[in-house]
């Protein structure tokens, strides 16, 4: 290709990318930011200022919800990692070749049905008249129906379920690339199981761990259905606040401020996570 042709090819490939990112990501986010610093001072009269943010910090219900969402999301991320890591290790290193593909596929199945169906399944299982409650009564462990829904533990169970796959997939991918002889060498040098895990396997799996944690954390903090359906009307999830401001109260300015705050907050958490682990966004998330 000569120079002019190359340039044309580049422009033709760059144009869709540029339009996509500019029109659907960059400009809309700038728009939300501008909206968030607008204050309504009268009928159709607006002024720029930080009023929406000040309102957020003055109202404990708002920032308590954000804090709660944050703490729960971090907790869900940790639980997902602890539950998922052994499973990923089993699939990548212990299961034999054919079982491996099968187990991996099984892991993906819940991914293909919507949040709604998954939460719905948990409701059928856990509600007062549900399967678990009936079963416990049947075997005589409890006297009357038990309501398992509408508490934090159930929300965690449902959220972990929803995001588990996004932890397991990157973990299996990284562990799969690990040479078994590294583990053998660790044992030959006299390392105990714990030492091998701590000094060899975990450091090797770090990009996968971080990638999984970032995606899981973002998905959890941004989730809407699971906390509402399993946590009930008082689930106090921050996305619910954003929805309420936007759709129910039609207060777009303060809804936009909430959105910006959620985005800033999740970005800072991810940035700290990357810093602490010495990884970068493109070396982790994009790899999987």
């Amino acid at each position: 290709m000569n120079h002019a042709q190359k340039r044309l090819a580049f422009l033709l490939l760059f144009a869709p990318f540029f339009l996509w990112i500019l029109l659907l990501i960059v400009l809309p986010h700038i728009g939300v930011f501008i909206l968030s610093v607008k204050e309504k001072v009268g009928m159709g009269v607006y002024e720029y200022g930080l009023g929406n943010y000040i309102e957020f910090f003055n109202e404990p219900v708002y920032w308590n919800t954000l804090l709660r969402t944050a703490v729960m999301s971090i907790f869900v991320t940790i639980v997902t990692l602890i539950i998922g890591f052994p499973i990923a290790y089993y699939i990548a290193k212990i299961a034999r070749q054919r079982a491996k593909a099968g187990l991996f596929l099984l892991c993906l199945i819940p991914l293909w049905v919507s949040d709604l169906v998954r939460s719905f399944g948990w409701i059928v299982l856990l509600r007062e008249t549900g399967i678990v409650s009936s079963f416990l009564q049947y075997i005589g462990l409890v006297d009357g129906p038990v309501e398992f829904l509408y508490n934090d533990a159930t929300v965690v169970v449902g959220l972990v379920y929803t995001v588990m796959l996004f932890m397991i997939v990157p973990l299996v991918t990284t562990l799969d690339g690990m040479d078994d002889s590294l583990i053998e060498a660790g044992f030959n040098l006299g390392g105990s199981r714990l030492t091998v895990l701590r000094r060899i396997i975990i450091p090797y799996a770090m990009p996968g761990i971080i990638s999984g944690c970032i995606v899981v954390f973002m998905l959890t903090a941004g989730s809407y259905l699971t906390p509402i359906l399993l946590g009930g009307k008082n689930s106090q999830w921050f996305t619910e606040q954003i929805y309420e401001q936007f759709i129910t109260r039609f207060n777009w300015e303060s809804g936009a401020a909430f959105g910006v705050l959620l985005l800033i907050f999740t970005s800072i958490t991810v940035w700290i996570g990357l810093r602490l682990s010495g990884q970068t966004l493109s070396s982790t998330v994009a790899k999987t």
């Binding site: 034999r96 949040d115 719905f120 379920y161 954003i242």
Partner: protein, 300 residues
């Protein structure tokens, strides 16, 4: 999973009797854990599916006997899903939205894959990060930002020129754009991963044999990418179909299935017809996922 002794392949573990028993015990614990995990994965899906066949007004025990009414019955109060007009319209809206989103995101994703795998340009790594970012923005935020941006444009048009563009108000166009904005990242990553494996010498050989660039693309490169294109399309279709967060903020009067189901759940409470839809969706997406696996395996 039953014969655990065969899976011990690690020669570093000394087969001393006591240690061996301990190893076997640990292995069994591990296998048990994995089995429990898969029960956890399957339980809610089985529960959601099973009650579609219960002859009762509520998706709850006791079991009242097997029925297919929740799929095929055409009379109230047990209106089956195939006679429920609103559910069917949600299903068809979701289907068309998912098709359009999948096609759009495959096209842009393919361009992106070539851009990042074949081209060198200034700020490439910055652009790459921008390409990945939509994946980690919460769906609700993507939704509100596109909602705000579209309304800004629509209001600007109306105030300055008196033109009212209805399609910039919440509705299917915005739903499609909102889903497209992050699904494109996923299709790009899938297609780029396949393009990375392509041996560029094949193209050079074809070039030496006198083929034109367009012809090479059509006869060599795109056929090689085909499994990834189909795979990306299936993934895009399924993610669009099941999307809720972004759609919720952008939806107008024509509601896709997830929104219709959610409304039904919130207003009427859950009835077994929702179990029937869930069962239908599980079978449908399972078959699609299987299709994409088969297609990808054949070509490898």
């Amino acid at each position: 999973m039953s014969s655990n002794t065969n899976t011990i392949s690690n020669p570093a573990i000394n087969p001393k009797p006591a240690a061996f028993n301990q190893v076997r015990f640990l292995r069994n614990c591990f296998t048990g854990y994995v089995v429990l995990f898969f029960i956890y994965l399957a339980a809610p899906l089985i529960a959601a599916g099973a009650f579609a066949f219960n002859d009762s007004m509520f998706p709850a025990l006791p079991w009242q006997g097997f029925t297919l009414d929740w799929f095929f019955s055409d009379t109230e109060p047990k209106l089956g899903m195939f006679h429920d007009r609103r559910l069917l319209s949600g299903l068809s809206i979701s289907f068309w939205v998912a098709i359009i989103v999948a096609v759009m995101s495959i096209i842009v994703g393919t361009c992106n894959a070539f851009l990042f795998e074949r081209m060198d340009f200034p700020f490439k790594s910055f652009c790459y990060i921008m390409m990945v970012i939509p994946l980690v923005i919460p769906g609700v935020i993507l939704g509100i930002s596109i909602l705000v941006f579209a309304s800004d444009i629509a209001n600007g048009m109306e105030d300055n020129w008196g033109i009212d563009i209805e399609s910039l108000r919440p509705g299917l166009l915005l739903v499609i754009l909102g889903q497209f904005s992050f699904i494109t990242t996923i299709t790009t990553l899938v297609i780029a991963a396949r393009l990375k494996k392509f041996d560029i010498q094949l193209e050079e050989a074809a070039l030496n044999l006198g083929a034109s660039r367009a012809r090479i693309l059509r006869t060599v490169t795109l056929p090689f990418l085909k499994p990834a294109l189909i795979g990306a399309g299936v993934v895009g279709f399924l993610i669009s179909f099941e999307n809720f967060n972004t759609t919720l903020m952008l939806v107008g009067s024509d509601a896709p299935l997830t929104i219709t189901m959610y409304d039904r759940m919130a207003k009427v409470g859950s009835t077994p017809v929702l179990n029937a839809v869930s069962f239908f969706l599980m079978i449908g997406s399972g078959l699609l996922a299987l299709l994409s696996v088969v297609v990808q395996r054949d070509k490898n």
